[in-house]
C-alpha cells in the first residue's frame, strides 16, 4: 500500500512543465494534478510511474474564464471550485449540481476537473458533462497546441486522444441558453462511490416543445456519450412523462452496457433507463 519510488519534478511555469513532460513521458512520466485517482492507483501499484510532473505549483493553472460564450476551465481547477456557481448562466448551476456527486468533500478539495477528464474513468461525472455539452479539450505540448472535440477525445476505459507528452491545459464548455433546463441523475451503491450509470440532459423549450436536447449517458459504456436516439425522441415533443419515458427507452435500447462481476449488461441497461428518465424528471424542477 505504499507507492513505488518515483522522481518528482516541480515546474513553476507551463512552458517548464511541458518541457519536462516531453522529456520524461517516454520514460513513463505522468502528470500529477489533484492525485485523487492517480495516488490510490499508485498505492495499489497498479501504476508505477518513474517520473511525476507535479503541476500543483505551476502558476495560472487554476483559472476559470468566460467570454460570454465559452467557459474555460484551467488544468488545476479543483472540483470544489464548483461548489458555488462559477458563471451567471444555467451552466454554473449545472456544474454545482453535478459537482456534489463527485466522490466526497475532502476529495473535491484536491481532485481537478481536467485531471478527471485526463483519467477518463467511464463513471466520471465530469467526463459525462464534457461529452453531453460537447466540450473542447485543449492539449498542449512542446509540439504545440491542439483542440480536441469531446466526440474524438474519449477512446475507451481510461483512454483518451491525449498523447503521452500532452498536458490537458484547458477544457472549454459552451455556455447554455439563458432559459436552458438541465437535469442530472446517477446511481451508485454508496454515497460517493463510482456511478454504475449516470445521465445528464439539457434542452430548451420553444413554443411548448423540447428543442436542442442533449442526452448524455455515462458509467454504462466504456466512454460517456450523447445518445442521438434519445435526443430525437425528445425534440419537438412536449416535456412530460410520455416524452421522457420514450427517451429513456431509446437510450436503454441502444446502449452497449459494460459488464462486470457485480453487474450484468441487462441490469445496467435497466439503470440507464432509470437514470435518463430521472434526469429528465428533475430537469423540470
Amino acid at each position: 500500500m505504499k507507492p513505488a519510488p518515483f522522481i518528482r519534478h516541480v515546474p513553476k511555469t507551463l512552458d517548464e512543465a511541458l518541457k519536462i513532460l516531453a522529456q520524461v513521458a517516454p520514460e513513463d512520466g505522468r502528470v500529477l494534478a489533484g492525485g485523487q485517482s492517480l495516488v490510490p492507483i499508485m498505492a495499489f501499484r497498479l501504476a508505477k510511474p518513474a517520473h511525476l510532473v507535479d503541476i500543483n505549483e505551476v502558476e495560472n493553472l487554476d483559472k476559470i474564464g468566460n467570454d460570454g460564450k465559452i467557459l474555460r476551465i484551467g488544468a488545476r481547477v479543483r472540483h470544489g471550485a464548483f461548489h458555488t456557481s462559477v458563471v451567471d448562466n444555467p451552466l454554473g448551476a449545472l456544474l454545482t449540481f453535478v459537482a456534489r456527486h463527485i466522490a466526497h468533500y475532502p476529495i473535491r478539495m484536491r481532485g481537478t476537473f481536467c485531471g478527471s477528464l485526463a483519467h477518463a474513468d467511464p463513471a466520471s461525472e465530469w467526463c459525462l458533462t464534457a461529452a453531453t455539452l460537447d466540450a473542447t479539450m485543449v492539449a498542449k505540448s512542446t509540439r504545440g497546441e491542439r483542440a480536441i472535440k469531446a466526440v474524438d477525445y474519449f477512446e475507451g476505459i481510461m483512454s483518451t486522444a491525449l498523447a503521452e507528452d500532452e498536458l490537458l491545459a484547458e477544457v472549454h464548455l459552451p455556455l447554455l441558453a439563458a432559459e436552458a433546463k438541465f437535469g442530472f441523475n446517477e446511481f451508485s451503491r454508496r454515497a460517493g462511490d463510482f456511478a454504475m450509470s449516470a445521465s445528464l440532459v439539457t434542452y430548451t423549450i420553444k413554443n411548448g416543445k423540447i428543442a436542442g436536447a442533449h442526452v448524455g449517458v455515462g458509467g454504462a459504456e466504456p466512454s460517456p456519450r450523447r445518445i442521438a436516439e434519445a435526443e430525437a425522441a425528445l425534440n419537438g415533443q412536449a416535456p412530460g412523462d410520455e416524452a421522457f419515458r420514450a427517451a429513456a427507452e431509446a437510450a436503454a435500447s441502444v446502449i452497449e452496457p459494460l459488464e462486470d462481476h457485480q453487474t450484468t449488461g441487462e441490469y445496467r441497461r435497466d439503470l440507464v433507463r432509470a437514470v435518463v428518465r430521472r434526469a429528465l424528471e428533475n430537469s423540470q424542477q
Binding site: 507507492p3 519510488p5 492525485g35 485523487q36 498505492a43 468533500y105 475532502p106
Partner: protein
Amino acid sequence: MTDKTNITLTINGHDHAIAVEPRRTLVDAIREDCGQTGTHIGCEHGICGACTVIVDGEPVRSCLMFAVQAAHKQIRTVEGLASGDTLHPMQQAFMDHHGLQCGFCTPGFLMLAVGVLERNPDISDDDLLDVLSSNLCRCTGYQGIIKAVRAAAIEMRK
C-alpha cells in the same frame, strides 16, 4: 531514485524539519517522521477518511497527498484542536453525544467536521449529512456522530 528531500512540515504551528522520499505520503510523514500519531491510517487509498487533516484550511485525505507537496503549508491535526485542558467544541460534542466508540475513525471525523464548519459555518443539515458520508465509522452507526456535529455546529457559530 529514492533520494530524500529535506522539507519542513508545519503541524499545528510547530515546524518539523524532516527528510523524506517523494513517495512518502503526508500521513506517513506526520506519523512516522514527525511523531504525531493522533492522525490514523486506515485504507491508504482515499476511501475511509481516517487520515483526514486540514491543509491550508481545507480538509483533505493525507494518504492521497505526498509529504513534499505539503511543505510550507499549514497542517492541522487532531493534536491541535484542544487548547490546554479545554476540548474543542467538536471534541466535547463527540463525548456528549456518543460520537465514538473505539475511536479509530474519530480524528478523521473531527478534522473533517471542523474543517468544513470553519469554511462554511452556516452549512445546511442536509449538506452536513452529505459531508459526513465522506468518512467511515464501523462502530457508531453514524447517528451519534451526526448529532455531535450538528450540536458542535451550533456551538461553533456562537
